[in-house]
């Protein structure tokens, strides 16, 4: 089930990506409306990360394209923020929490200019939002996984973007961090911003996301969570992994998903 929208904020058209002749994404085609929190789910190796990397021009698609706000990424780069997976960087890097967050203001500064008062305020504000005020000068290697993830989120906030792509922001974080992050993301969408998140925890999909995109190399479904996050489609997406599936199906039934208004 693929539900398209008019005037999409994100439009993925016939996207195919291959790594060394092995297809990772096949013919992905969907659209996302603005102001939503969208989750991309699918089994390991389904191409979730590749999908948002393709949206950020970090991988070159074999065919197809991604348009953001109806334009190519190059034209709207300052309105788009990308949060890579936490483990893609070296956390022993000599930087403090504040240093990393301030980095989010660099792109808007351009060459030769350095952060001034306005940028520093922005960074401090982001620091408050992710509840890391007490860790401002902490060396990043001394943070827990959840705190590292919040640093990445804060860096994205200082970019003042309208569209966010986040790769596994909830992976390996503590419950408190998960709460903080979801609060920040919901605040963003309440201000009309669009957030697209790669997600792996099926139990929280219905609770968190307005929109769900299910992929397994091919697109299985894309639409409002209340419509597409069904046991049948989840089974189709995760096909074969039965233990997990029965568990999920069980959960879906016993928990009685609350209806979502969209």
């Amino acid at each position: 089930m693929i539900i398209h929208v008019d005037q999409p904020v994100v439009e993925v058209h016939d996207l195919t990506v291959t790594y060394e002749r092995r297809p990772v994404l096949w013919d992905i085609d969907f659209t996302l409306p603005g102001g939503i929190l969208a989750g991309i789910i699918g089994p390991n190796g389904a191409g979730k990360t590749t999908l948002i990397k393709a949206a950020m021009d970090l991988v070159v698609p074999g065919s197809g394209f991604v348009r953001l706000f109806g334009k190519s990424l190059k034209e709207v780069r300052s309105k788009v923020s990308y949060v890579p997976q936490r483990r893609t960087v070296d956390w022993d890097f000599p930087a403090s929490v504040y240093d990393v967050i301030l980095m989010g203001t660099y792109p808007s500064l351009g060459l030769f200019r350095y952060p001034r008062k306005a940028e520093k305020e922005l960074a401090l504000d982001a620091l408050r939002k992710v509840e890391l005020e007490d860790f401002k000068n902490r060396q990043i290697s001394q943070l827990s996984g959840g705190q590292q993830q919040r640093v990445f989120l804060a860096r994205a906030l200082t970019q003042n973007a309208d569209l966010f792509f986040m790769d596994e922001p909830f992976a390996g974080v503590d419950a408190a961090t998960e709460k903080t992050i979801i609060k920040v993301l919901q605040e963003l969408t309440s201000h009309g911003k669009t957030v697209v998140v790669v997600h792996h925890d099926l139990q929280s999909v219905a609770k968190y996301f307005d929109w769900t995109i299910m992929i397994h190399s091919r697109l299985i479904a894309s639409g409002p969570t209340s419509q597409v996050f069904t046991p049948e489609l989840v089974e189709k997406t995760y096909g074969g992994k039965l233990d997990l599936l029965t568990e999920v199906a069980h959960l879906l039934q016993t928990e009685k998903l609350p209806p979502r208004e969209d």
Binding site: L58, Y82, P94, A95, Y106
Partner: protein
Amino acid sequence: MDAFFVILTGSLVAVTCGILGIFLMLRRMVMIGDAISHSVLPGIVIAFLISGSRDGLAMLIAAVITGLLTTFIIQFIHEKGKLQADASIGVTFTWLFAIGIILISVFADYVDLDQECVLYGEIAYVPIDLWILPSGIIMGPRSVYMLGTVLLIVVITILFFFKEFYMVTFDQDFAVSTGLSVTLWHYILMALISLTTVASFESVGAILVVAFLVAPPASAYLLSDDFKTIIILTVFIGIIVAISGYFLAVYINSSISGSMTVMAGIIFAIAWLLAFRRRNFQKSLKIIKF
């Protein structure tokens, strides 16, 4: 006065190499620095054959070209040839370095380059290798000018583009997502390394340059968690290495660049011990921050 110039030259080499070494180390590309320090040799010899002198510009341009070519070949073999990065580095630089050695021996009659000097450098000759203007005015040791210029280029580039180097070094994907070209900054860094190597090789030689690229930054990295402090410490350690190395060489009457490298190793060992103590016994102890 001679001692002063030798120490000054050593310090210039150590500081220039050290500053760039920090970025190499944090990007886990130290061995590319090693590769470039060797593979610029054929470029230097060819530049010498064409221009007929060891002076300035031709040499620096040749170094940058060969350095970038090396980086490109390593990248190409690694990506297109599907060979591991370290293997492609090993294949590329030894091959280019060997070509340089052959060129020197084949054109020995025309090239005023000595294999010993290329390999080990001879910093003791710095004070007698003077830059003399056509009018006969003695300007001082040639190496000091060459190294001074390169240090200036390096410092200015890093200062102007610190933000960009910092982003590209810490988080490549994020940097690319904001529109920076990681490739461009990579090649700029490699060009700077090439310049530094060629300016340094007469004094410390191709083999020891890598010690100056790695040892001071590695020591500083162990002593601090703050980027700016690491830069300042690297500069400071580089100068200490040059001074103490010189006096060690005088005392035991031995190779100056060798002694400087030995001192760099000793300082690294001390830094490692301090860091080890801090990590294991005194967790609350403050690390250095300026």
